[in-house]
């Protein structure tokens, strides 16, 4: 069933699908960054696919690769009971990808988390602000080059009055 999704994706988006793999049922498509929003919309809206639930969205840092960062989307369909994984690869020190909050509102905090910990900017996000660390935090701690023994300054409390 999910295998058919990858074929449908290839047929529909062609060039935008860089590669796919399927190891024991983890259907994965690596797609071009520019196409992520229309692709997600298509996965959500197409009858028979209907990935109406965003299970998780996270960043990954493969520091040895040229396209260093990856954003991984785990999708599930509550009507069809199947899963798909979509990945985008991003290059550079200030990686950017379009936000999918408009497709799944659940992406809101996930994208803020990836922005906070990996420094990935989600273009079009309604409120892209650090989620887990505090505003004055410097750097992005889950990047592989973040020094393991670096400690932030203790943030100053807001005045009571």
């Amino acid at each position: 069933m999910s295998q058919a999704i990858l074929e449908q994706l290839r047929a529909r988006f062609g060039e935008a699908i860089i590669e796919t793999h399927n190891f024991r049922g983890d259907e994965t498509a690596i797609v071009r960054r520019e196409q992520i929003v229309p692709l997600c919309q298509w996965l959500k809206a197409t009858p028979g696919i209907e990935c109406n639930m965003l299970i998780d969205l996270c960043g990954v840092d493969y520091s040895e690769r040229a396209e260093r960062f990856e954003v991984v989307y785990h999708l599930y369909s509550t009507t069809q009971k199947h899963r798909v994984r979509v990945k985008v690869r991003l290059a550079g020190e200030a990686p950017q990808v379009d936000s999918v909050v408009a497709v799944w509102p659940a992406a809101n905090w996930f994208e803020r988390e990836a922005f906070d910990l990996f420094g990935i900017t989600f273009v079009g996000h309604p409120h892209l602000k650090r989620l887990l660390t505090f505003d004055e935090f410097e750097g992005h701690p889950l990047r592989k080059d973040y020094p393991v023994n670096r400690r932030p300054k203790i943030p100053t409390p807001d005045p009571l009055m």
Partner: protein, 176 residues
């Protein structure tokens, strides 16, 4: 015993600060600042099997304004640190602090970007309890240690000893 000899029978003399300290040590009102698993262990200490009220410290208050003993139980992140500091500042003098567990004392095994490496970076601590989490007996032991310290009969602590000042008010050495 100078003055006592000149008084009638039935009197004895003491120092005012001694009486105050005696009263205080049996009426500690703890404020639990529980952020992680250690706070669960504290529930065992307050409930009947171990029963912290045997030591006069059963009135757990969730307002810092009504408490004089802060129990920091759990991991304190950098994001939480200013909140802990503010709650501590809202407590009235005299006040004491117990760091319960490895996390509150030193950051524990969370030696990473997000965790404060011991609450004594921001507030003075009177007694540290080792363990992950400490046994209830250890918490009671810490309480007894603190009571000794309040009376001034315990061992001297390197961090923030309460000073018995000439005015007779028990003061914290380096309280904020």
């Amino acid at each position: 015993m100078g003055i006592q000899n000149t008084l009638q029978e039935g009197f004895f003399t003491t120092r005012l600060e001694h009486v105050l300290a005696w009263g205080r040590k049996y009426s500690l009102w703890p404020m639990p600042f529980g952020t992680a698993c250690c706070a669960i262990e504290f529930m065992g200490v307050v409930s009947s099997r171990f029963d912290i009220s045997r030591f006069g410290a059963e009135l757990v208050r969730f307002s810092p304004r009504q408490a004089d003993l802060m129990l920091v139980m759990g991991t304190i992140t950098y994001k939480m640190a200013p909140i802990l500091k503010r709650v501590w500042d809202q407590m009235c003098e005299p006040k004491w602090c117990i760091a319960m567990g490895a996390c509150a004392s030193s950051g524990g095994f969370y030696d990473n970007y997000s965790t404060l490496q011991g609450i004594d970076e921001i507030i003075p601590v009177d007694v540290y309890i080792p363990g992950c989490p400490p046994r209830p007996e250890q918490i009671i032991h810490a309480l007894v240690k603190l009571q000794e310290k309040i009376c001034g009969t315990g061992q001297s602590f390197p961090v923030a000893p309460p000073l018995v000042a000439a005015s007779g008010v028990v003061k914290k050495g380096n309280a904020a």
